[in-house]
Amino acid sequence: MRKRKSNIFAGIDPVLVLLFLALIFFGWVNIYAASITEGGTEIFDFSTLHGKQLQWIALSGVLILITISLDSKFYENFSGIIYIIALIALAGLFLFGNNINGATSWYNFGFSSIQPSEFAKAATALALANFLSTPTNDLKNFNTQLRAFIIVLLPTILIVLQPDAGSALIYLSLVFVLYREGLPAYYIGIGLLAILLFVLTLALGLKVSLIIVLTLITGFFLYLARTNNANLRRDWLKFLGTYLAIGLFIFSVNYVFNNVFEQRHRDRFAIVLGKTSDTQGIGYNTNQSMITIGSGGWTGKGFLEGDRTQGNFVPEQPTDYIFSTVGEEWGFLGSTAIILIFVAFIIRIIQLAERQKSDFSRIFGYATATIFFFHFMINIGMVIGLIPTIGIPLPFFSYGGSSLWGFTLLLFIFIRLDADRTYVW
């Protein structure tokens, strides 16, 4: 390993940093708009949400300095220890955690609360990158697959138990990193098929979906036999197995949905699938959010002019539903701009990841991109009513110190690794 330059800023990608700054800036502007409704328009009033967020942003400057001043080898070498510390922090919640809104996801430090699951994302990404970059590990190998899954699943399980299903979903998304690194495609294929069957079963009911799916499979088999890719007499066991597996899966989805899920989960799915439209009770948040965004029109009502935002109409607006403020006050043009910035931001991370010489850096970059992408997709998808209500923050937009710091940490570790790409391999 070569000694790197003394200037810690050297080699940092300016495009990514600029996109980051843009997101932080627009994020805070919208938190300001959504939080002055509680009174207090003073920017530096630290009793308000926007004031507090400003503090968090300032402090994340310190965090950035620390993150990029550490050696990139530090992250690689200590990734196992960091991962274990993160797991201990998550497990410790069950003993020392604070229950807020029904989930034990927080440590209370008096002056502020910390949500370890936000930081554990970076830790898990580091551990996964470290494990996969070890030359002896090959994802074609079942043993490696198993261990890689365990690395992802350990924090996921701890978080599901809090319970915080939304964050757990983000950890699961790291499976896509495994795919990029050589995990056989059928894992993803089976995963996607499972999701598809799940939605289909819920949307159309047990009988209809069974009929449709089994007809399709039969058609597929017949097609295979016709093109001599399969022989019905020889492969009958495979066909039968597929029928049984899919049939069982649909039955179990139906069973789990009706008997294991809680009513609130069922309700959320029902709303997105258009099966109910309870706009006063369970669908209230999403409905309010869509109305608020819709009222923005082409150009929006203008900064601080959004009467639904100012009227505090959307619950959780400064946190999970912050994008509705963008929609109302900045309109279609403003929201589109924000979406384009996010898309550019994530694509830039992938571009940088692809140019890494070190496997560790590349895998970590992919993990970073995947985490940001899933946050972006799930949060905005929820706010505009495309997917069920899953409470996770929009990176750099949603109010909250832990998530801001978690994302900043994740991003700047990668920026550090990228800056050192010529030295590290």
Binding site: T37, I293, S295, G311, G331, F342, I346, F373, I384, L386
Partner: protein, 652 residues
């Protein structure tokens, strides 16, 4: 295979889907445009103006407002409270409490709704001190109607909540708002209610007000409702209601020189205060459900009766106008009028012994059926065909405001009926009908139907010697006399002025002449011109008809010259004209012109007289008809069975 492209593709795809979705929500779907009316974040608060008061022609207050208090609740704010104490305070049961809370919560947990409506003034003072103990509950002031004088519910009407059908047609109203449902309250709704003010208030999602929307630029001020002065003389109205006690029917009195309605009595009546506030829905069910007395049925405006003999006056006038008679044309009365060869084709007279031949004056005051049958026949037969004769007669009769809506300013009414040739052609095809076929019209029986207000208006037209003003109930708005052409322009009848004097002379003799049919109703020093009527009426059930006791009818105006009042009285099943309707009409005239009566015994007889037995009898007759019908059915069935049996036998 380049797996990295999957990443680029997914991100771009999600970005495109999001932008398309936003385009739909924000640009295509225009459900949520930025307007205060379209904006759930803006609360519309209505500022309801005070509803106008209503006075009678002499300035007596008839309809006022009274404050009332609703207990409101915001269900989600309701905290643990001592429900037992709270229920005791409101004088409700615990079940009511649970039920009301559930109802309001179902409507909306956030929006305030009425928990308990219309707490009395006394309770309010007491409750107000205690209410702050109960989080989520508060008291809201509202305004209700109040009727200081328990009279004329049919004229004044009442207000009630706007129903959904009405809301669809009238965007002014919101669900739960009040509007006039009947009477003057309905007719002059827009004048009385004023115009509500609108305030747009920015609210947060807890429905909490946080200030005026956009500094109040869209707000409007409320316009106070205007006070109405009616043409009604409430003293006379109350007197009329008292005279009509325990009798069914109507009295309509009109000032001929203006068309102003002085009295509009319909009995049985009820206290207008029954239709106010919390008890309204219960009481309206009771009143509407009373199918025997039908107190909400305005017998002055809605009841169509055959007019009986007063209609002879019209035929006399038409006869003079058409030159088929003169005042001296003699007719012979043989105790009736034979209009066909059959023994049944005979219209009997009740005019008793009088000299024959009979001429116009005596024809009227004796109410001789034979005389008017002859007159009517001449009118119809004057034309070349019966049809044109009938239509010509119809035109004259209609010019008195009969056979169609009069155009008065109350929301209900009936057209009545003056038949024309088309009407009879429907019943007697191929023109096979002649004057004798329709001879009953000569004496106001037959097919002619009138409402009491049409009769009163007809009387006013006679009193005016040939014209009338459309009857109306509105006199002033905010103390300024109304200027409505419809009510100030005289409507001329088709009869020349000169023909009225001899007829009026006959009407004068009805009361004044010792042989007049209403001689017992003569009032000293007041020159009353009147005409008695005895209207046959029938009840029928599925084709079975039975005659009931005749209606008692009387029309009159006074004084003879320069008439001040024209009146029509209708008493259902009152035997004959001079028995009930005559005294009532003349007592009303006396009261109106002199303020007192010279015939206290007659007044007492009217106050105390009851026709309740008659009405009980009617019910019995109706019941009897039903039984008769069933009996006939049974009989028919049995006959059929017998016949079937016989057929069977012969076949064997």
């Amino acid at each position: 295979m380049e797996r990295k492209y999957l990443a680029y593709f997914s991100i771009l795809a999600v970005g495109v889907i999001f932008i398309m979705r936003l385009f739909y929500l924000q640009v295509i779907d225009d459900t949520y445009r930025a307007s205060p009316l379209n904006n759930a974040a803006v609360k519309i608060k209505y500022d309801y103006p005070q509803r106008g008061y209503v006075y009678d022609r002499n300035g007596v207050l008839l309809v006022a407002n009274q404050p009332t208090y609703d207990i409101m609740v915001i269900p989600k704010d309701v905290k643990e409270i001592d429900t037992t104490e709270f229920c005791n305070l409101l004088q409700i049961t615990k079940d009511d409490y649970v039920k009301n809370l559930k109802r309001t919560t179902n409507y909306s947990p956030r929006i305030p709704s009425v928990f308990l409506a219309q707490v009395s003034k006394e309770d309010y003072a007491y409750l107000q001190e205690k209410m702050h103990h109960y989080k989520g509950f508060y008291i809201q002031k509202r305004s209700l109607r109040e009727y200081p004088i328990k009279s004329a519910p049919n004229v004044l009407g009442y207000i009630g909540e706007a129903n959904e059908d009405f809301l669809k047609k009238n965007p002014y109203y919101q669900l739960g708002e009040y509007m006039g449902v009947s009477g003057v309250e309905k007719q002059y709704e827009e004048i009385l209610r004023g115009f509500k003010g609108v305030k747009f208030i920015q609210k947060d999602r807890f429905n909490k007000d946080i200030g005026p929307y956009k500094g109040g630029i869209y707000d409007t001020l409320a316009i106070v409702g205007k006070d109405l002065t009616l043409t009604l003389d409430i003293a006379l109205q109350q007197y009329g209601e008292k005279l009509m006690r325990n009798k069914r029917g109507g009295i309509v009195a009109i000032e001929p020189s203006s068309g102003e309605i002085l009295t509009l009595v319909s009995t049985p009546s009820y206290d207008p205060n029954m239709m106010v506030g919390r008890k309204r829905s219960k009481n309206s069910v009771i009143l509407m459900g009373d199918t025997i007395n039908r107190p909400t049925y305005d017998r002055g405006l809605q009841a169509q009766y055959p007019p009986g003999s007063p209609f002879k006056i019209i035929n006399a006038l038409i006869g003079l106008q058409e030159d088929v008679i003169t005042t001296e044309t003699p007719f012979y009365c043989y105790g009736g009028y034979k209009y066909g060869r059959s023994i049944n084709n005979f219209m009997a007279c009740h005019c008793g012994v009088h000299g024959s031949p009979i001429r116009l004056n005596r024809g009227i005051y004796k109410s001789c059926n034979a005389y008017f049958a002859n007159v009517y026949r001449r009118i119809i037969e004057k034309s070349e065909t019966t049809a044109t004769g009938t239509d010509n007669w119809m035109q004259h009769a209609k010019s008195f405001g009969l056979g169609n809506f009069l155009g008065y300013d109350l929301p209900i009414g009936r057209k009545g009926l003056i038949p024309d040739s088309n009407f009879y052609n429907r019943y007697y095809p191929k023109g096979s009908w002649r004057a004798p076929t329709i001879i009953s019209n000569a004496i106001g029986q037959g097919e002619v139907l009138t409402t009491p207000i049409q009769l009163a208006n007809m009387t006013a037209a006679i009193a005016n010697r040939g014209f009338y003003y459309t009857p109306h109930i509105l006199k002033k708005v905010d103390n300024k006399p109304i200027e409505i052409d419809e009510f100030t322009e005289p409507k001329n009848t088709t009869i020349d002025k000169k023909h009225f004097e001899p007829v009026i002379e006959g009407m004068f003799n009805v009361v004044e002449n010792p042989g007049g049919t209403a001689r017992w109703s003569r009032v000293k020093d007041i020159e009353i011109c009147g005409k008695t009527g005895t209207a046959e009426n029938f009840v029928s059930y599925k084709g079975i008809k039975e005659q009931l006791t005749d209606h008692s009818v009387f029309i009159a105006f006074a004084p003879k010259d320069n008439p001040k009042i024209a009146i029509a009285v209708f008493v259902e099943n009152g035997y004959w004209g001079s028995r009930w309707a005559g005294p009532i009409a003349t007592l009303m005239i006396e009261k109106y012109l002199t303020g007192t009566t010279t015939r206290p015994w007659e007044e007492k007889r009217m106050f105390e007289g009851s026709l309740e037995d008659e009405y009980q009898h009617n019910i019995a007759v109706q019941k009897g008809l039903r039984e008769e019908y069933l009996r006939l059915q049974e009989q028919e069935k049995r006959t059929k069975e017998l016949m079937a049996l016989q057929v069977e036998k012969t076949q064997k």
